[in-house]
């Protein structure tokens, strides 16, 4: 494994506003890295720094071992949220255009897209559109793939098929950077980088990020009553069917419910990724 893309203490300032604050990020060949963060956390700016689309105010960006360049960008495949496809052209036509634009010569379309190759992209279901977008981005055999929410909006089977494509490209040596808002997608990554207000607030595997965080589960015959009590206290409650998950300690929650006359059983359980994320973001943001 070697580093395909790397940032070292990279910082980006726009006037008084710091979009990216001293971030170290590495993407190695064969791995899938997930970039997670609230809007405005700096994910997009970080990617633009990584691709060399913008010069950092401080720090170093390396793309394939050297500062970003046009030839370096040729080795990158990028799929934005909007897919970057022309909806009024067929799959084949989109493929031809990208291959020609990247100067890759006559590459053949992958066989798994052959049954849709003459359909207008705009008429395909979203899952298929995403697979086409991915294949087109991969058409010039890039070493680094940057995917913006690759499975957003796709159904369970479509998502699984997309991840097969993504994993297989990683197994062929590419490095993949995925930005995501989706916990399921985050769980598919080898490593997560959580950004809050331009800084890396947490990093590591899903297990590392959730860490030893715990929440409590509240089971009650009167879930509505329990909810009202705890909601009024300002807790960020997750409701699953009729079980409440509250990011707080058992004693505190038991006490609150008892004082308001709500009967419930309260147990401590490990936090899930979303709860960990919310906790990280709330802790990491200043003001």
């Amino acid at each position: 494994m070697f580093e395909l893309a790397e940032t070292q203490a990279v910082t980006m300032r726009y006037g008084a506003f710091t979009a990216v604050d001293s971030v170290d990020l590495t993407v190695r060949s064969g791995e899938v890295v997930g970039l997670l963060g609230a809007n405005g956390a700096g994910k997009t700016t970080l990617i633009r720094l990584l691709l060399g689309l913008v010069r950092p105010s401080a720090g170093v960006t390396l793309l394939f071992g050297s500062p970003p360049s046009v030839s370096g960008r040729r080795r990158v495949g990028y799929v934005p949220q909007t897919l970057g496809l022309y909806f009024d052209m067929t799959v084949r036509e989109n493929w031809d255009f990208t291959v020609a634009a990247f100067g890759g010569g006559r590459a053949d379309m992958p066989s798994n897209l052959s049954d849709v190759k003459d359909q207008l992209v705009g008429t395909l279901p979203l899952g298929t559109q995403r697979r086409v977008a991915f294949a087109v981005a991969f058409s010039h055999a890039p070493d680094l793939l940057v995917l913006d929410e690759p499975t957003s909006g796709v159904g369970p089977l479509g998502r699984a098929r997309l991840w097969e494509d993504i994993r297989s490209s990683a197994e062929h040596g590419a490095g993949v950077l995925v930005t995501t808002h989706n916990m399921e997608e985050a769980e598919q990554c080898d490593r997560l980088v959580v950004m809050v207000e331009g800084r890396v607030a947490a990093e590591g595997t899903v297990g590392d990020v959730t860490g030893h965080r715990q929440v409590v589960e509240v089971r009650s015959a009167d879930w509505k009553g329990a909810f009202e009590v705890l909601d009024a206290e300002g807790f960020v409650i997750q409701v699953h069917e009729d079980v409440l998950r509250v990011p707080s300690g058992r004693r505190e929650v038991e006490g609150l419910l008892e004082r308001r006359g709500v009967r419930a059983t309260v147990t401590t359980v490990p936090a899930n990724l979303e709860e960990a994320f919310v906790a990280v973001v709330s802790a990491g943001s200043r003001g």
Binding site: E149, G153, N182, F227, D231, V239, E241
Partner: protein
Amino acid sequence: MTWGLQSASVRFGQTPALTDVTFLLEPSTVTVVVGGDGAGKSTCLRALVGLVALSTGEARRPGRRQIGYVPATGGVYPDLTVDENLAFSGGVYGERGATLLDKSSATLERFGLVDAHSRLGGHLSGGMQRKLALGMALLHQPALLVLDEPTTGIDPLSRSEMWRIISRAAAGGAAVIVTTTYVDEAQRASSVLLLEQGRVIAQGSPSSIVGAIGGTLGVAHSATRPAGLSWRWGRAWRVWAPSGPLPDGVEPLQPEFEDAVVIASMADRRGEQLDV
């Protein structure tokens, strides 16, 4: 009063968009409709509120003043301020004068929009726009809340807040139906509808859906696709054997809700149906 669809089918020309969909919505519950793009989730909701004509079956819903609807896109006027958007929505649903003002300020507070109250709708971030649209739909305290993909594409923090508001609405007595493409959100529902190409392939509470899958689930760590029905999960593969034992080298695994959803979709592809 229960609302919902009864054996509803919708055709757009020759294409079936929904086939024989039935669900009932009770007050103080959250029903989640899950499926990929094109599965018929939006059509389901639009049939429920009367935007789409049914070819067969029935839709039961309360009067217009009792419904709060937020479509998948839009719902907010980009060239009106937050205040003006709320005023319009309130006015349309018959709220006037002092009550309208009170409800508007309460909405601004609950949805965290107070600082942005004079900002144009088009200048709000995606997450705030969705929250405003939700606020507009809840202003008149509807008995039925219908939300089409309220959390698609917004950041996890806003999503968490959305669900808090949804839970609050249900706790306050409303019947809520939500569509989503995120399977993990479906776990929050008291009732889930899994749609694939307009058909219901699984229905019930999340725990009952997990309990209904037959066969055995396993995990394989090989580099190549293992034999049998399998799908990628992280670096590994999940394998499902509908009947009989798992293939060699595959360790059994307790299914979670997300696994159940994939398995239900696979079973549907193979022509079987999950019995819930």
